[in-house]
Amino acid sequence: MDYENAAGRIYDIQGYAVHDGPGIRTTVYTKGCPLSCLWCHSPESQSFEFQVGYLPLKCLGVDLCENTCIKACDQGALTAGEPEQAMDGSGLIRKVRIDRTKCNECQKCAEVCINKALYTAGWDTTVDEVYERLMKDVPFFRNGGGVTISGGEAMSQFPFTYNLAKRLKDSGVHICLDTTGFANTEQLGKMIPYVDLFLYDLKQMDSEMHRKLAGVPNEKILENARFLAANGAKLQVRYPVIPRLNDSEENMHATAKFCKELGDAVTLVQLLPYHHLGTSKYDRLGKKYKMHRWSPPAEEFMQKALDIFKSYELPCQLH
């Protein structure tokens, strides 16, 4: 496979992704991330490997499909559960259960599940394939819309991300790159000509704290932000406001100050209030949501946070 048609591993392509930059956008989500943020609402984005997902709601019961998945599993990870009422009220069924300690993520069960109750999170693709799919949505990309390449961390799959962005840019598509900033600086530099807007996360200004929350320190992230700003990139900074973890006034001032220092490169600072809507996805993958499910920050609180950013004369908004 040639470099321009590099392979990539993604877990979703979503049209009308209205939270990922200006206008109507279609977002490609690459799989795998070097960070592991406690509040991450896309657990399937974290691992670079395929994962077995399971939606019990869709399981028809192993008696109907004659243990198709159980037979396919050579690790003995799947068993029939206790009888329970079927969703459509048709009687008792025994849904499959996964013992995650035995599962080796071989995906054989997902391949045979007829109703896709068991499914594979993620699939392998190529630049060509994804490009063709994305170009179908071009009519919607008026008024600043376009494609957002997101993750996971898209920069972790540089050949794919770079060539996809280049290809789309050459076709006149507006490109956003949604990045944690935890990336190879040289590679980020190569992206600049093909990215109209970097959606750039700043989660916590204190590096030690950042390491605790996201699994990595923040020096490289901050350094890359400065690098991008100095080299003509446009940044839309995204600051997820997480109760107790990064919502101190001190951190807000530090974040705002940092944004200010980046100068004109920062076109907008978005404050994203924490929510726990994605947490049911953890159950599907058999993973634990490590954070307490806090209530989202109150509106008055967010307004005060916004005022802090405004006091630095930054273009900013609540999202």
Binding site: Q14, Y16, V18, L60, I114, K136, Q317
Partner: protein
């Protein structure tokens, strides 16, 4: 803060409360039915149009004048606020005897409970007696008398047409009533009459009768307005509040003037629209009599009032608010409830209004069109456009529905307001694409100037405002039903409907006897053509019934062409004539054909015999196959040409044949894609190859099946945009559901506009969007009192969520949760 918020005045709040109270205590309109019965009994031999004029005159001059305390406008089509209308001459005999000939106990349990639409013992006795006259003289009886027996036999499952009801979906020229007046029209009619009388011929003798009838109704209308003037003066005499007294005297002055003469200010314009609306409703509950481009003719009056200081902006808004409440007061009893339905509803603690609220009865299916273009192609937006939107935005009303015409001249602030309104009001307004609809009108042979003046009649049906007798989707209570799916059943089961074993008229093979998918397609084309030819024939017969015996004189009063030609609309008097038909079951049919093609012919996963057997068994014992089809087959709604090409193929075929068949009164036939009955039709439809089980709902209107949509709103919109919309010139409904989370901030509004604009640039004609916040609906189920104003869009109309039955609520929520 909310930039669209204008205060809701205390008076408007009062009107709002008044209606909430009245909804728990509705009354049937016996007044109109007594008057028509008396008149028709006394004058059995009068020529039909003279008989109609006589009845209308009697109604206009004898009906009760009702002036509500504190109200800003006068009257109702019935004797009190929010009268529920029905016409005895178009009631099925089974309904009358079933409801009122029932045992005393059951009658009381249905019609005399708190929350019933109350029918007194006296009314009950009257309707049973009147029925003795009408059973041999009503519309159905006329139809039976006129049709050759061979034709009635051949109607097969469509015999219910013989229950006969008025054709609906029209839009007389209200502008003429407001800006010219009945006095001037009467003068013209008299001139025309004199011309004919000078030289009466075979060709014009019927027109002479038309003009006599026309003049009589003009006289009646002018008298009714003056009776209201008198009523206001009387009321003023006993009113102590000086402000109200002055207001009543001012209204009296206006009522002495309007109807006969052109309206001089906004109040008079609005009251004229209402008086004329009352006449239309009293003439017959035709369904969806729509006032057309209201902002276009009311705007100049409003602007003048504000410019001269006669009204402040807030006062003008108050008038529009109050007027919309009146426009929404015209309740039609549809479908007519049986005693079982009513008794069950009362047991569940639901009122008659709740029972009807889930259906499309409210506001008589009327639609107000705003925005659009002037005849010269420039934008037609003014302060009334904005005020109508603001009324819906602030009051959160669901009735009547509104259509917002958009084109390159649509101002940004109205786009924004319309989207904000739609987010709050459950898909109100709908958005209509001028570009494609105007082209569709040109295809019908309408000149450009008139094409630019289309309005929406009813749910989604575009026709020429004030100049067309459209009969969109409705002629004599006869629609094509779930036509496509019926045909699909025939070609699968060898001309048999497995639901009841009945057979079609055109023998054909069974699914497993076709050699190729192409052969099956060819058979489907043969069946479609046969069906359309039959439908066309029926339409012409149905139109003849009205032409012969049941003129629609109230509509002819203002529909352009009638006064000029001396012809009733049912005789072809209107400038343009249309005959609409809706074809539906599109998603179910497309997915089913796609399943046959994919499973049996392309991938050869199963044989056609295996699929046939699974269908015969209603999937029982074939659950895994059913699931595989649902998960694997390319379905309509996902921007996948495999399925979308099938939709394009049958829609093109259908519309080409239907639109090119000769229309009634020399007009055109116009195909549309709309359905309000997908749940009921689904109950009567056997299992389909798309994995649908017997009795489950069919797909709605032109929408893909919600649970077939896998790729999100962009793919959905691109898929539906592939339909040949320009040929669907009787309209279509597309519902785009957006996640509650994606519509919150101001940016979201711009993105929704981009979505609509893109869809329209791709060729779509109509769209409404709903915000799917199922959490809110769940909360509304628990605490209905707190969610009285939650409105959801069904297809061509919106309904209050808390008035829907629990089953319908559940169905709605499930569709949302499974959908995009």
């Amino acid at each position: 803060m909310d930039k669209f918020e204008l205060p809701i005045s205390d008076r408007i709040k009062g009107l709002q409360e008044r209606r909430k109270r009245q909804n728990k205590d509705l009354r049937l309109n016996f007044e109109r039915n007594r008057i028509i019965t008396d008149y028709y009994k006394a004058n059995p031999k009068q020529y039909p149009i003279m008989k109609r004029a006589g009845f209308l005159y009697k109604w206009l001059t004898e009906r009760a004048i009702n002036i509500e305390d504190e109200d800003i406008f006068l009257g109702d089509a019935g004797p009190q606020c929010r009268t529920v209308h029905f016409d005895i001459e178009q009631c099925s005999p089974m309904w009358i005897t079933g409801c009122f000939g029932d045992t005393d106990e059951r009658f009381k349990a249905a019609w005399q409970q708190p929350g019933s639409v109350w029918v007194s013992d006296e009314d009950r006795a009257w309707i049973l007696e009147a029925h003795e006259f009408w059973k041999d003289n009503d519309i159905a009886a006329t139809a039976k008398g006129l049709f050759p027996p061979e034709f009635i036999e051949g109607m097969g499952p469509y015999k219910n047409f013989l229950n006969g009801s008025y054709p609906g979906h029209f839009c007389p020229n209200y502008e003429r009533a407001v800006t010219v007046g009945f006095g001037e029209c009467r003068r013209i009619a008299q001139e025309k009459l004199a011309e004919i009388q000078a030289c009466t011929t075979h060709a014009n003798v019927r027109s002479e009768l038309f003009y006599h009838a026309y003049i009589k109704v003009c006289d009646g209308m002018i008298l009714m307005s003056k009776r209201y003037a008198e009523g206001c003066r009387k009321k003023a005499e006993t009113t102590t509040d000086p402000a109200r007294k002055a207001e009543l005297l001012k209204m009296a002055d206006s009522c002495d003037w309007i109807i006969e003469n052109p309206a001089r200010n906004l109040w008079e314009g609005l009251q004229t629209v209402l008086f004329y609306q009352y006449l239309l409703i009293a003439d017959g509950t035709h369904w969806a009599d729509s006032p057309g481009l209201v902002d276009s003719f009311l705007g100049p009056l409003a602007e003048n009032d504000i410019a001269t200081g006669a009204l402040t902006r807030e006062q003008a808004q108050e008038l529009i608010d109050a007027w919309l409440y009146h426009m929404g007061d015209q309740i039609i009893m549809f479908p007519k409830p049986t005693n079982d339905m009513l008794i069950n509803a009362h047991k569940e603690g639901r009122t008659f209004y709740d029972l009807q609220g889930g259906a499309q009865n409210i506001a008589a299916g009327s639609c107000i069109t705003i925005g659009g273009m002037k005849v010269d192609g420039s934008g037609d937006y003014n302060i009334v456009t904005e005020m109508v939107l603001l009324a819906y935005y602030r009051l959160r009303v669901a009735e009547p529905s509104i259509a917002f015409r958009v084109n390159e001249h649509t101002p940004d602030h109205l786009w924004e307001l319309a989207i904000a309104t739609s987010k709050r009001s459950g898909g109100m307004p709908q958005f209509n694409n001028d570009d494609v609809i105007i082209k569709a009108m040109l295809d019908r042979g309408v000149p450009l100037e008139d094409a630019r003046r289309y309005a929406v009649f009813g749910c989604v049906e575009p026709a020429i405002s004030g100049k067309e007798w459209s009969m969109a989707a409705n002629c004599g209570g006869f629609g094509t039903g779930a036509s496509l799916v019926n045909i699909l059943q025939y070609i699968i089961h060898g001309n048999v409907n497995p639901m009841d074993g009945s057979t079609g008229k055109l023998p054909c093979k069974k699914l497993y006897e076709y050699e190729s998918f192409e052969e099956l397609q060819a058979e489907m084309e043969r069946q479609m053509k046969f069906y359309i030819d039959n439908v066309t024939r029926m339409y012409h017969f149905a139109a003849m019934v009205f032409n012969h015996e049941w003129p629609i004189l109230s509509a002819s009063m203002m529909t352009e062409g009638c006064l000029e030609k001396g012809m009733d609309v049912s005789w072809g008097g209107a400038t343009y004539n249309g005959m609409g038909s809706m074809f539906n079951g599109i998603g179910t049919t497309a997915d089913s054909l796609s399943a046959i093609k994919y499973m049996c012919f392309d991938k050869k996963i199963i044989t056609t015999k295996e699929l046939y057997d699974a269908l015969q068994a209603n999937w029982e014992g074939h659950e895994l196959l059913r699931r595989r089809i649902i998960n694997e087959v390319p379905f309509y709604g996902n921007d996948d040409d495999t399925a979308d090409d099938i939709v394009r193929w049958f829609t093109n075929y259908w519309t080409d044949i239907f639109n090119n068949s000769p229309g009634v009164n020399g007009g055109t036939q116009n195909c549309g894609a709309l359905d309000l009955y997908n749940v009921g039709a689904g109950k009567r439809t056997w299992a389909t190859p798309d994995g649908r089980k017997t009795g489950d709902p069919l797909s709605l209107s032109s929408d893909p099946r919600p649970d077939s949509v896998r790729n999100g709103p962009l793919a959905y919109v691109k898929s539906v945009a592939k339909m040949p919309w320009r040929k669907l010139r009787c309209g279509g409904a597309i519902n785009v559901r957006l996640d509650g989370n994606s519509v919150k901030n101001e940016e979201a509004t711009a993105k929704i506009r981009d979505l609509i604009s893109t869809y329209f640039a791709l060729g779509g004609i109509q769209v409404h969007f709903t915000v799917a916040d199922t959490a809110v609906m769940r909360a509304a189920q628990k605490n209905p009192e707190d969610y009285q104003d939650l409105i959801v869009r069904i297809a061509g109309f919106s309904a209050y969520f808390t008035h829907m039955s629990f089953t319908d609520q559940e169905g709605y929520i499930q569709r949302l949760e499974l959908g995009v």
